[in-house]
Amino acid sequence: MYYPYFIAYMLSGFVISLIVLFWALRHGQFRDQKRLRFLPLADEPDPGSATRVTRMNRWEGFVLLGLACAGLATTAAVLFFTLYRW
């Protein structure tokens, strides 16, 4: 057979995933979803100890957004360019 290895590879991943999925279904892992949203917050310090937000922090956010927009524009331009060549 020409490609038994990657079929074995894909099947092993698939079988493990199925076993875990059935375990999760049987053990109620898809219940209580609303409570789970709050789980990371459960043992954190009170909000009063939060780091103070400065004007600089807000500007950093805007700089990051600007970078993201520039990246998006560049990605679109490159996609157009490569397809246009074709």
Partner: protein
């Protein structure tokens, strides 16, 4: 009784050891990367030193970044948040410490074996069999520790970060064993095309099923805490998790579209590469909605800042990945510096920044003291950010120059003078990243061992 810094210090031995591992190898790996970048400008750079030949340096850089820096950084965070989310202690700190020691033995062995020319010559799977076995045993110890922690949990339902962390280590233990063909110790390879197919299943999955789930798990833990918002939707996060498992596991053949592998496999790989938009956007929508209106708070927290920026890079690297799998686009973008830009965007921009964020999140928690220097961490953030953006821009342009030249029928050697200047800029930008790595190492060591700060 409130925990003192000393008791906290003892409780988090494994996370601390993985943190130091990550910080140290980040500095080492970027230094090696600088040497490799030097070769691209001057091919006879250090040519008389056989241990530092480009063919040896390059896999050392790649393996160190993967197994020395990013994975241990993400595992450090996982060894902190997994017990927290399960409301229990880590199964065994001694086992954890043993896994870190073995992990470092594996990484050192990788450096020594590759620099002395012992390589299996398969990209991302260069390590020889004994080193492969060390990596597998290290992973097995981590899997055992995390799964036993899950077994002893007091929280009955698993938060999505637990799913991601466990999937990452279990699937990678499997992926690594199969991808490195460990049942053939002499070559670590199959013959012909089946080997190429298997290699790229491994080559893609070692990133997609190790770094991606560990990073997403970390983001799902830290972003709600930093923003003090509950996760937007836990159900959505589970949909993202399961769709990632379904879609990601068989897209590796998009590296082989120019190779005579079966067409149906190329189609599966390409279609699922595009389908990756589903798990990616599910994650990003969930995290960005969680962070909605809290950009200021995120940037006020050093860990939040690193990890949130990582999510933005995840968006770009994933969009790129889906687009690059299209044969028409790949005609221009494959086999050139575009791919190097893409891999740096993913490993450093997405997973690396997030790993650093994870370290900065857990360091105050595992030492009981505040971070030694917020300023140095900020400086590191901006140096890495400038570095990765600069890297991406320069290498993308160089890649397009190369791709278009070859597409137009130009010979390879005639393109080299055209991209030389880009390589010079690349090395210069690399200095930012190397400097950032050493600053981070200093900050981590000072935070853990020589921290004058008040107990938190």
């Amino acid at each position: 009784m409130a925990a003192t810094a000393d008791t906290i210090f003892d409780q988090h031995l494994t996370a601390r050891a993985f943190s130091l591992t990550s910080a140290f190898w980040f500095a080492f790996a970027t230094s090696i990367g600088m040497v490799a970048a030097g070769y691209l400008i001057a091919p006879d750079f250090m040519a008389n030193i056989p241990y530092l030949q480009f063919g040896r340096i390059r896999p050392i850089h790649v393996n160190l970044v993967l197994f020395g820096f990013v994975t241990p950084g993400l595992l450090a965070a996982a060894h902190y948040y997994v017990p927290r989310l399960l409301r229990t202690d880590l199964f065994s700190q001694k086992l954890g410490l043993m896994s870190v020691i073995l992990w470092n033995v594996a990484v050192v062995s990788a450096v020594v074996s590759l620099s002395t020319g012992h390589s299996q010559g398969r990209e991302y799977a260069e390590l020889i069999w004994p080193v492969d076995m060390l990596v597998i045993v290290s992973f097995a110890l981590v899997v055992l520790n995390l799964l036993m922690t899950v077994r002893r949990r007091k929280e009955p339902v698993l938060y999505v970060s637990i799913w991601y962390a466990c999937a990452a280590v279990i699937l990678t233990a499997l992926t690594f064993s199969l991808g490195n063909v460990i049942w053939r110790p002499d070559t670590g390879a199959l013959l012909g095309i089946p080997d190429a197919i298997l290699l790229w299943f491994y080559g893609h999955n070692v990133f997609g099923l190790l770094l991606t789930p560990l990073t997403l798990g970390l983001a799902y833990y830290v972003i709600p805490i930093v923003t003090r918002n509950p996760l937007y939707s836990h159900t959505l996060s589970l949909i993202g998790f399961w769709s990632l498992l379904v879609v990601y596991t068989h897209i590796g053949t998009h590296h082989l579209l120019q190779v005579p592998v079966p067409t149906w496999l190329k189609v599966v790989a390409t279609v699922d590469s595009v389908a990756m938009v589903i798990p990616v956007m599910v994650f990003l929508i969930n995290i960005w909605y969680t962070a909605k209106g809290k950009l200021g708070e995120i940037h006020a927290d050093i860990a939040g800042k690193f990890i949130f920026t990582g999510t933005i890079f995840y968006f770009f690297v994933s969009i790129q990945g889906s687009i690059m799998a299209l044969p028409q686009v790949q005609r221009i973008t494959h086999f050139n510096n575009w791919v190097i830009a893409h891999s740096h965007l993913g490993v450093l921009g997405f997973a690396g920044l997030s790993a650093l964020g994870g370290l900065y999140y857990i360091l105050p928690k595992i030492t009981g003291k505040p971070l030694y220097s917020r300023f140095l961490a900020d400086l590191q953030y901006w140096l890495v950010l400038i570095g990765i953006v600069g890297f991406t821009v320069v290498l993308t342009i160089a890649g397009l120059v190369q791709g278009n030249s070859w597409f137009a029928g130009e010979t390879l050697y005639r393109t080299l003078p055209e991209i030389h200047s880009y390589y010079v800029v690349r090395l210069s930008i690399g200095l930012f990243i190397a400097l950032a790595a050493y600053i981070g190492l200093y900050n981590v060591i000072r935070t853990i061992y020589f921290n004058p700060g008040e107990e938190a």
